[in-house]
Each structure stands twice: as C-alpha cells, then as structure tokens.
Amino acid sequence: MTPSTGDRPGRWLDAQLHLLDRQVLDADDVPIAVVDDLELSEVPFGQEIPIDTPPPVITALLSGAALATRIFGGRPPESRMLRTPWVDVVEVGVVIKLGVMRDTLDLAWTERWVRDRIIGRIPGGRHTPGGKQDNHSEDGKRGGS
C-alpha cells in the first residue's frame, strides 16, 4: 500500500481520481472551469532519466478544448489550453478552490471580452447586478407577507 502520510502534513492525490474533471471555483466560490489536464514541471523526455532526478511537480491546471481529443484521441495544442497556476490552489476536495478572483486569471478572458465589448455597449449593460438582486429579494419579502 502507498505509505500513510504519518505525521507529515499532506495527502495523496491520484490525478484521475482527485484532480481531472473537477470543477474549479474562484475565491468567491464562482465556478470558472473544469480541470482537463495537468501541466508538470520539465523532466527528461525521450532520454534516460538520471536516478537522482527529482520528481516533477504540478505547475498548472489546464482547461480548454479537450473534448474532441478525448473522443477521437490525440492531444490539443498547448495554445488552446488555459493555465491556472498551481500556486493559486488553496483546497482540493470535491471541487478545487482557488485563492484568487477569476478576473485575475486567463481562464475568464472570454467572459471579460464579452462583458467589455458586447454587454457593456448595450444601453444599461454596465449596471451592477448586485443592486437588482437586492430589489428582487425585497420584492419577494413583500410578496410573502
């Protein structure tokens, strides 16, 4: 059996069991992506690995156009995958939680682009939704009493 972590703080993670296909939440618990792949630090590839080579570490979670290659095989080009640095991960559980807001990540660039270039140009498109949510909740209270 894989040894227990004993007194060492830490835990075992299997890539397919604990990481791949997990939902990624930002610091506000907003879902932003699914983990499609993991980027590892560089190791010798196509040549003998010296016996004292340190094991690779996870450097980033990758998300992107992975569905087609999962069905038909192959590997999506790296330019199509968006990176979330592993150092931003604060918790690995049923979901993977990040310690940063989605606006700081490459992952949310399409959402930012649509917001700034399309939604923001529609009259009224720059209103903050927070105020409207408050109005809805007040309406609900009035309706229920």
Binding site: T5, P9, A15, L17, E39, F45
Partner: protein, 106 residues
Amino acid sequence: MIITDLLGSRVFGPEFLGFVSDVRFFLESESVGRPARVYGIIVSPHARSSSLGFERSGVRSPWPIAALVRRRHRGSFLVRWGDIERLDVDRIQVRPGFERASSELP
C-alpha cells in the same frame, strides 16, 4: 509535459507490464502554493482506464461495480518515480529490479 502524456502509456520492464491507469502525487501540505510531487505511476496490466476510486482500500460498495472494477484492474501495482528509467511517447521504461508497490490508497 502534461499528464495525458503519461496516462494510458504502455509500461515496459523486461517485458510488457501494463498501462498507466493513474498518476499518484504527494501534496506536501494543504496550505497555499505547496507543491504536489509525482510519487509514482499506477500500472494496470489489463486496462488503461481509471479504477474509479476503487483503489481506495476501504471502498467495497456498490459490490457489483467494485467487483467488476477490481477484476478489470486486477494485478495493478505502483511504480515509484525513482524506478522510472525513461519516458517516451506512449511508452515508459522502468529500471531493472524495480519494486512493485501496492497501488491501494490508504
């Protein structure tokens, strides 16, 4: 390197050993930014697919699925990182005299 370069690869020692069904990491701490290092690869002699969590030592139910998955992944073992000699496209070579550790999760 990305993890899908490893998953499903054929593993060879003196002869064909199986396929990489998963990659095991050790996360050094739960705190922010701590590295998750590769501990080893899980080699399944019969299947490339994941064992769906049934590699955890205490998971026995639902028993029909557990029995099916355990049969499909019978003989699975873990090869530690230090025992990996060479990585190639769809092929991993392990060192002579490598150790077959249990693939069960504590």
